[in-house]
Structures are given as C-alpha cells and as structure tokens.
C-alpha cells in the first residue's frame, strides 16, 4: 500500500491537497452555494427562509421596489444602489489616500539605513497587535465632541482667548474615511516596502549615470519597479474596505450605511437572510468585477507574491 503510494505521483498530489480541499469545500464552496440558494428564497413572517426561486431580492437591491405608492405596480427606489455606490467610492477614496500616505513612508523605510529598517517596520506593525475594534474605539475617543482633539483645540483656543465651538467630527463620512485609512495603512506599506527594498541600488546609480536627475529617476525607474507592491497593496486594501462594517458602524453612526452594514442588519436586525444573501453575492460580484479590470491592467503584483 505504502509502496504503491510512493510510486504513484498523482495520488501523492491528491493526498497533499486533500486537507486544503476539504477546508475550501466545507467552509467556502458549500456556504457560498447555500448563500446562493437562500438568496433566491423568500422571508417568512417569522424570519425563516422559504425556499423558492425568484429574483425579487436582486431586483430590490437594484431599486425595483414593490412597496409603491398607491396606484403604481412598480417604482424606482435608489436606496440600495446608493449604498452600493457609497461603498465603492469609499473603498476607492480610502485606497487612493492609503497609497498616497503609504508610498512616501515605505520609500523612506526602504532607503533608510538597513540597521534601522526593522525598527521602522516594527513601528508600522505595532498597532496590529491590538484588536481592530479597539483601535476604532480609540478613534471615537479622539473624534468625539468632548474628545481629545476638541479638548486640546479648546484648551489652545482658551490660551489665546478665542471663542471655541467644538467640531462635530464623529459620525461623519470624514470620520469613516479616517478610520478606514488608519486601519488599512499597514497593508499598503508592507508590500510597497517589499518591492522598493528589492530595487538594487545600482539601478538608481545607473539612472543617474545615464543623466536622470532624482525626480526623473523616480518616475522612470523607482515607480514602475515598485508598481507590483502598489497593486498587491491595493488588493489587500480595496477588497476588505468594500466589505467591512465595523468602522462605518462605530465612526459613522447610523448615517453612513455601507454594503457591509446592510448585510449585517439584514441578518441580525431585519432578520431577512434571503435579502442579506443576495446583498452578499452582489458585493462579491462587484468586488470581483473591479478587481478583474484592475488586475488585467496592472497584473496581480505577482513579483511580490513570489518574493
């Protein structure tokens, strides 16, 4: 038996991927299929699933409502489409801001003395030792009307004798954006750093030697060679931001509803798993579409993965 296995290469391969396969099928494929089936169903009065086949949940997300004013059979309600659009644009804005903040920092770390690089990377990673939700709470402490930022500003205003009205920062779109950028910054810094760090110093020298000043060296050599890191970082940031609901829940209050919040509420508050499932699948498809076009243009950042 063992001898036969030793000779059979394909059986060895199958055996090696079996644990992962069981995991993937059990925890990804089957739940996904269940979600798909449920999304076609209807909600019973008690909040259970009635298994039927209909596209009503999808129609509802896209805005074709059945709860119309008297006299109309169909009408258009853009509520959910707005939520989808808000999620995409927030994910987009977050990603762009994160790139703009992460790139200079990653560049600084990559070009600093090798003996200091680990210290800087350590500092980048330290916040990740604390729970995600706790870090969001910390931002609430900072942003509240009586929070740290307003207190300090008020104290400073008092010193110079100016009337100070505290800023309303918490529960605004800005607060959600700040929270998202903060949470996902390390996931952009690390891949960009990795790709920058791999650029051999002789390439900078070669560019200078051939007549490129530092600015042109950056545009023609540094940036193109670090793009795999930017791409990998974008995937690591854009996808989770699309689905997260904790940040918007805590920092956005009830005003800023994203797809993530919508799905969470359908399952927990509204007790309509059928609509929640449909929203989940829409989110997934939307993310896949964006990533498909993005990676088709820029690649997967495979050089980073290979490193």
């Amino acid at each position: 038996m063992l001898k036969r296995l030793r000779e059979n290469k394909s059986a060895q391969g199958t055996l090696l991927i079996t644990p992962t396969l069981i995991f993937m099928v059990g925890l990804l494929i089957i739940p996904l299929l269940l979600t798909l089936i449920i999304s076609f169903g209807k909600r019973s009065a008690e909040g259970n699933v009635i298994y039927t086949f209909g596209l009503h949940n999808y129609m509802r997300i896209l805005g074709f409502s059945h709860d119309c004013p008297a006299g109309q059979t169909t009408c258009f309600d853009p509520l959910y489409a707005q939520i989808l659009w808000r999620s995409i644009s927030l994910a987009f804005n977050t990603t762009v801001l994160v790139i703009l903040l992460a790139y200079p920092l990653a560049y600084f770390i990559a070009r600093s003395h090798p003996s200091r690089r680990n210290t800087f990377l350590f500092l980048v990673l330290v916040p990740l030792w604390t729970n995600f939700v706790i870090r969001v709470y910390a931002w609430m402490m900072l942003l509240r009307t009586q929070g740290l930022i307003n207190s300090v500003l008020g104290w400073l205003a008092g010193l110079v004798g100016v009337q100070f009205v505290p800023f309303e920062m918490l529960y605004t779109p800005g607060a959600v954006l700040v929270g998202m950028v903060y949470e996902f910054l390390p996931f952009m810094i690390l891949p960009i750093y990795t790709s920058l760090e791999k650029i051999d110093n002789s390439l900078y020298e070669a560019a200078a030697d051939l007549g490129a000043n530092p600015l042109r060296t950056f545009w023609r050599v540094t940036l193109p060679l670090s793009m795999p890191g930017v791409v990998a970082g974008t995937v690591l940031v854009f996808v989770p931001v699309m689905g997260t609901f904790v940040v918007s829940d805590l920092l956005g209050g009830k005003q800023i509803i994203l797809v993530g919040n919508l799905i969470q509420r359908q399952f927990l508050d509204a007790r309509d798993p059928t609509f929640g499932s449909a929203a989940s699948l829409i989110l997934m498809v939307m993310t896949l579409i964006v990533m498909y076009f993005y990676t088709r243009k820029f690649g997967f950042g495979e050089e980073i993965v290979a490193a």
Partner: protein
Amino acid sequence: MSDFAVELKDVVKTFKTPEGTFINAVDHVNMQIKHGEFFSMLGSSGCGKTTSLRMVAGFEWPTEGEVYIEGQPQGHKPPFQRPVNTVFQSYALFQHMTVYQNIAFGLEMQKAPPNEIKERVGRMLEMVQLSGMERRYPRQLSGGQQQRVALARALVKLPNVLLLDEPLGALDLKLRKEMQLELKAIQQKVGITFIYVTHDQEEALTMSDRIAVMSKGKVLQVGTPVEIYERPNCKFVADFIGTSNFLEGKVKSLEGDKAQVFVPALNAEVKGLVSGTVTVGSQAAISIRPEKIRLADKAALSQNCFEGRIVSSVYIGSDTHLIVEVNGLLLKVWEQNKISSLDPRAYYTVGQSVWLTLFPENTLIMAGE
C-alpha cells in the same frame, strides 16, 4: 582640449568601518589617463580600484584631492552632470524596460530628438550584435547578451570616458575571452577612453594600453603591460602579476642599472638589473620569472649559476613545470618543450641534477619588504 581625459590628483577616500574606525579606501592616489586610452586599474578586492572608479563616475566624492575630467575639476558634481558613463558589474539593467528602451534611456534623458534616438540605438544594437532583440526584456537574454546591452546603453551616449567595473566578471571563461577581444575592438572603433577595473591580471594584460596596479588604496605602478610584467617596480607587483621566484639579500654594489646582491641562502653574490629603486646596503628582493631561468648540464657563467636537483616535474603540454632545489631553496622553472618526443629521457626527471643560470638581464633587483 586638456592633456588628460581623466586625472586624479592626490585623491583620498575615507570610509567609516562598522567598528567606528576610519580607513582610507583610496590613499593619496595620482593617476593620469590619456585620451583614447584603454586604462586598467588592477588589484585584488579591497585595493581601492572600484572606489576610484566610482569617484570618477560621481557615485562617491573624494574626502581629499580632486578628480578632473577633461581638465574640469568635478568637485561634488552628481553623476548625471558628468560626461562619463558606467558599465556596472551587475549590469544594472532596467528590468521593466525592453532592450531598446534600456539603450534609449540615456538619450531620452538628454532630450535627443526621437528620430535621432532611433537611429543611434539602431547603430548601437548593430555594434553589439543585438539587432532583432530590441523588444526583448533583460530577463529574456543570456548573461553575455545582458552584458552587451549594458555596454550599448552606456556607449550610446558617446561619453568622453567609459567606466567599466569588472563588466565580464559574471561570464564564463570562454565568453569572457571572446568579450575581452570584442571590448578592445569596440574601444578602438569608437576611440573613447576606457577605464577598466578588474582583478584579473590576464584580462588587464590582454586589453590594456596601460595598467595601474593597486594595493591597499595606493597605486604601486603604472605602465604598459610589458613594463608591468618585465619591469615590476616592487615585490608586490612582481608577485601579483604572473609568477616569480624571489630571493632575499643585501645590496653590495650598484653600477648603472646593474647591482650585486649577496644572497645568504645561496652563500653567493647575484648580479641583476635594478627594477625600481634600491640603495647600497639595503635589503633587496631578487625576482626572476620561471620561464626565464636557463637549465644546463654545466655552469654557463662564472656568476649567477647554481647547481640544483629536480624535486618535481609536471608535463603540461607546451611546457614542463619543474621545481628545482638549490641549497634548500625551491625555485620554479618552466621549460618550453621545443622538441617533440615520446622518449621520457627527452624531459627533465625527478632526482636529476642540473645547473641553473640566472642571466643578469633576466634577474630583477627591487626593494625588499
């Protein structure tokens, strides 16, 4: 036009070691490189040759002294403002650009018109025999081809001086030999001054018009390949270039360019040619190349002849490499096999007794250590 393409005047480069002490990687170096010359800096690793080259390129700035290019002091000018280009040891090709884009890069940086770029890159590709490969990426090329791209990329700018930092180091022996001849041919064709850094003495002797032998940050000797090999000015150079036998002794007398040295190990005076500088009474090193010792059955001269016994004999085809023991000293002697023979008696054999003649004109006397 200034007298020299490149001149290093009393250049010092000090680096801080990880232990916090300071070391002169380049120590008061003076060099004058003529226009159109193939000039090599030769030395083992850490001798300061690469640092010297990098100071000409502008990647490093001298701690003291000055680098002149075409008579212009370079001071702290950055590399992109110097009329020199470099071929890097690692090639340093831009992996995200094609062969064409790599070669065109330097011309784009100087804002040459597009049709001129196209024409010059095309001519350069032809010269390094890479026509038809312009759309390939560096990773799709062999080591030798990458080396050619690196050369073309630097040469296309027609710099006053081309700096080459061990450009053939990563190639295998056969390819290296081919590239040596090709590099030399290209240099003669374009007429650009080449400064070539290498630790390979054979490479330096093959290609260079002049060689600077360096050690511990200092230039020991500058000369043509013949001068460096036939008249080394110190023991280090004689030892570093080719193979030499060394005898230690004390200078007895000087007469013109000849000197008499008493060698205690042989209990005899040896007459030879002064190479470098020695004074009467000083310690001297006598250097003689293995191929320049004459073997015979009996003494041919009244002086400089010693009887010895062969302790090792290795036939290597063109030569027979012998080791001869004289008064307890072991001397290397290379005999050319001038006669074709299968008879073992035609060759020197171990145990045989022979007379060695060190002709005074082949025997070099230089300062001892």
